[in-house]
């Protein structure tokens, strides 16, 4: 794939170090005479040096940072490191400077460079967000406009084996008050999509294109600081595995209060927060008296309820629930899902459910997308996806799902295993497991094609017309 092999300027440490050394050399040559204090005036001399060297350090790092277009201040620090090294070497080799002078000079450069790196980071971010805002004018026009619009989202992970194409051209829309489900097997990219929406991705992830517009603002373009405030107030997340979402050394109340403090900037009084947390506990079916308990005093189901309360604490517009009930027993799962549904209707919230369990998605969502190997292969109203799946993968997945109702055992289960995304299959990524695949599927990648404009039903398959009408063919016991 040409997309996988394309490279981008990433962290340019070596140039930064080189630049640092260059600036250092220039400064030594140009300022050399008067930044070395004469004997006996060391104390004042050091101050002069420190101030005099802050400026070249600052300018050097700022310049290099802007040129490289970096996102982190490590760049400036790298430049500083280069300067420090050069200074030490110069001092040692020249031999005519006292060790104190060398250190102070290096510190001067390093400090300036760190500041410069930081400034470059801020200026760069400002420039980028300014650019994106300019193109944003016409968005959020009508009420029918979706709350969240994900368009052609593409994201890759860098691994030791190569680039993993984790999310490839995923597009969907979420309207106000809607529950949308993303279903797929592990490694199909559904969690990566969620993490992309929140921009909570690991170091080795890289966006290759697309946009995530919340109320018309592209979340992929805002600064990290802005994203931090949006993360709880606009989009909140109910994590997979409620056990790890809590810090065991603080009470649940303290942890929710911290999230609210960060969001509301401490303008809420203690009583207000306490009332709010109490209300949230009522809402999710927990006893108010539990707020001051530690997480380990909660059972698994209660912990998950508390996580939902925390997600609701800052009035988010969208909640992403990533496998919210996977670790729970079936009776508790049922209760939690019921609770989430009630909260959603009560608050008019939009929820994105992410699950590997197609039965859960069937029960709680109105619209669902099926993901396979990093791509969205089917998207439509949940009832229709279940009653008449168009994509062979969805069809076979439904056939393969055991159920306590309907026929006991199904025929034609899904064969094989999902592909390795370091080297995904050409064409349609499902073709090696697909009984309907032909030459075209092997060569060309089908994009999500809307086949019913009314409901917005989309399917990414060349041969969707050959998929049989769904009849759960099976063998009775």
């Amino acid at each position: 794939m040409s997309r996988v092999s394309e490279t981008r300027p990433r962290r340019l440490h070596l140039p930064a170090i080189a630049l640092g050394i260059g600036v250092m050399a220039l400064a030594n040559w140009w300022l050399g005479g008067w930044i070395t204090p004469a004997e006996g005036e060391y104390r004042a001399g050091y101050l002069v040096i420190l101030v005099a060297l802050l400026l070249p350090g600052f300018l050097g790092a700022l310049g290099s940072g802007l040129v490289a277009g970096h996102r982190r201040p490590t760049h400036g620090l790298m430049a500083a490191l280069g300067m420090f090294a050069a200074e030490v070497i110069w001092g040692a080799a020249g031999g005519d400077l006292a060790i104190g002078t060398v250190v102070v000079r290096a510190l001067g450069f390093a400090g300036g460079a760190a500041l410069g790196g930081y400034a470059a980071d801020r200026v760069g971010a400002r420039l980028r967000s300014g650019r994106s805002r300019a193109g944003d004018g016409d968005a959020s026009a009508s009420d029918r406009a979706p709350l969240l619009a994900v368009d052609d989202l593409t994201m890759h992970y860098r691994t030791s084996d190569g680039w993993v194409s984790a999310v490839d051209g995923v597009s969907f829309e979420l309207h106000r008050g809607e529950a949308l489900g993303l279903v797929g097997e592990s490694g199909c990219g559904k969690t990566s999509v969620a993490m992309s929406l929140l921009r909570l991705l690991p170091e080795n992830a890289e966006f290759r294109g697309g946009s995530v517009r919340l109320n018309g603002i592209d979340l992929l373009d805002v600064t990290e600081d802005e994203m931090r405030t949006r993360r709880w107030s606009d989009i909140a997340m109910v994590f997979q595995g409620a056990m790890n979402a809590w810090n065991p050394v603080y009470t649940v109340y303290e942890q929710i209060r911290e999230a609210m403090d960060t969001h509301f900037g401490g303008e809420l009084a203690e009583e207000q927060i306490r009332d709010r947390v109490g209300e949230l506990f009522d809402l999710v079916g927990l006893n108010r008296a539990m707020v001051d308990r530690y997480p380990h005093e909660f059972s698994g189901g209660m912990r998950q309820r508390a996580v939902i309360a925390m997600a609701l604490s800052c009035d988010p517009q969208v909640i992403i629930a990533d496998e919210p009930t996977t670790a729970l027993d079936v009776i508790v799962q049922d209760q939690i899902l019921e609770e989430l549904k009630q909260v959603q209707t009560a608050l008019g919230m939009s929820i994105i459910y992410i699950s590997h369990d197609i039965a859960v998605i069937a029960e709680v969502t109105e619209v669902m997308g099926v993901m396979y190997a990093g791509r969205l292969v089917e998207l439509g109203p949940t009832a229709e996806v279940f009653s008449r799946p168009r994509h062979p993968y969805t069809y076979l997945l439904l056939q393969s799902t055991p159920s306590v109702t309907g026929p006991r055992r199904v025929l034609a289960p899904l064969e094989g295993e999902p592909p390795n995304l370091v080297d995904p299959p050409t064409g349609c990524r499902f073709h090696p497991r697909c009984p309907y695949a032909d030459q075209r599927c092997r060569e060309e990648n089908p994009t999500l094609e809307v086949i019913d404009p009314e409901s917005g039903y989309g399917v990414a398959c060349w041969n969707w017309t050959s998929v049989p009408l769904r009849t759960r063919k099976g063998v009775e016991a």
Partner: protein
């Protein structure tokens, strides 16, 4: 029902060949794989290069001191051929692709190279002068220093006070204006002694090489003993639990509480404390002490894995479960601690030698100690060759093992690896 299992002739068994050969290949593949991971770690490679450098120093010393040239070449060849072949093999890579350089040829080239090295370097140092312990430079350079009242340059002048130590060749005392001929004994680096000589006229470079031998011996023995004890103690304590666990863990606590250096000092005052005593003692202290605790916690994590239960369901005895299933899974961590033990051993040895508590002919710590008790400390950088090279060697080698350990940690621990 059993027909299904028995009936088919196993057609591919013949092709798989001997089981041992396959296993050897698998082990080799594992080593290659780990090496490829290790290789990407620059810190680890730097550490490895330093270790190899010191190993070379240690190995080449007997060659330099040997009088029989062909013999030293051969000995060198036998000792370090694999390392050298391994180093030059990639260099020959381009040629290999053209299939002109085969393995035998590489062996030949390497052998020839080493024999040449042996013949050229063999015995270039005569024992009387260069022996690290009993050697002595009989003809040090003579320094001419004028006796003056006010010294401005200590290299060419000496004060009247210092002049009292020397006399004229005819035995008369030195007066102001006389020129003293001094056979200076700690000599700075010059042609015959690349790193100078110590106050007793012995070659510093030769001493460094001899010290490297001791450091390696000590580090390796200490590390092996540590790993041997720590792995078995950790695995047994974790798997058996109960009073065995309590016993070994209390023992470990006890050993951790003991002030090791104080014990070494006491022991050296009680009996002749040899290098290998120290090695085994460090090994035992680590093996039953701190390292055992670390390995036990690792073994505990392994013990609760379902594959241990699976092995028990398969009918494995306790001994088998420990040796086949628990120990191999804590082994990587124990190798890591092996590296850290080497670091600790080298440092401890330097400290003890410096305190003069080790019954040893030559070591890096001893070199520094000699400089100190002959009064060459606190003289600035004037006699740098007495202290600086030995100190650098201790730090470098200790750091090198530590770096290799850290790099191995990343190889073993995929979570630490940058993806």
């Amino acid at each position: 029902m059993t027909d299904l299992l028995e009936a088919r002739p196993a057609t591919d068994v013949a092709r798989t060949g001997s089981l041992w050969r396959i296993r050897a290949n698998l082990v080799w593949a594992g080593v290659t794989n780990n090496w490829n991971l290790f290789r990407t770690n620059r810190v680890g490679i730097v550490g490895l290069a330093i270790i190899l450098f010191f190993a070379l120093m240690a190995l080449i010393h007997p060659v330099l001191m040997s009088g029989v040239r062909w013999y030293s070449g051969a000995a060198l060849f036998l000792l370090i051929w694999p390392v050298v072949a391994w180093l030059i093999w990639p260099l020959l890579g381009r040629l290999r692709h053209e299939r002109r350089v085969t393995l035998p040829l590489t062996v030949g080239i390497t052998a020839a190279l080493l024999v040449v090295v042996g013949v050229v370097l063999g015995g270039v140092w005569d024992a009387a002068t260069y022996d690290p312990v009993v050697g002595n430079e009989a003809n040090p350079p003579i320094l001419y220093r004028t006796v003056v009242n006010e010294v401005t340059d200590p290299a060419t002048e000496m004060s009247t006070r210092e002049a009292l130590l020397y006399s004229n060749p005819d035995g008369s005392p030195l007066l102001v204006g006389d020129v003293a001929e001094i056979r200076e004994q700690p000599t700075g680096p010059y042609g015959r002694h690349w790193l100078g000589t110590d106050p007793l006229g012995r070659d510093i470079l030769s001493q460094l090489m001899k010290g490297a031998q001791g450091a390696f011996l000590l580090g390796m023995v200490a590390a092996l003993v540590t790993v041997l004890f720590a792995t078995s103690v950790g695995a047994v304590a974790a798997y058996m639990g109960g009073w065995i666990d309590s016993f070994f863990m209390r023992l470990a606590d006890l050993l951790l509480m003991l002030p090791a250096l104080a014990i070494f000092i006491v022991m050296s005052s009680v009996f002749r404390f040899e290098l290998w005593h120290l090695a085994i003692l460090i090994g035992v202290l680590g093996g039953f002490g701190g390292v055992a605790i670390v390995l036990k916690s690792q073994a505990l994590a392994v013990k609760v894995k379902p594959f241990i239960e699976a092995a028990r369901v398969a009918g494995g005895s306790t001994l088998r479960v420990i040796t086949v299933h628990v120990i191999p899974n804590v082994m990587p961590l124990s190798f890591l601690y092996m590296m850290f033990t080497v670091t600790a051993a080298i440092q401890t040895e330097a400290v003890l030698s410096f305190l003069g508590l080790l019954n040893i002919d030559m070591s890096w710590g001893l070199m520094i100690e000699l400089a100190r008790n002959q009064g060459y400390f606190l003289t600035g950088m004037r006699f740098w060759w007495l202290v600086f090279p030995a100190g650098l060697c201790v730090s470098l080698l200790a750091a090198a093992f530590f770096l290799v350990g850290r790099a191995m940690d990343e190889v073993i621990n995929p979570r630490l690896r940058k993806r």
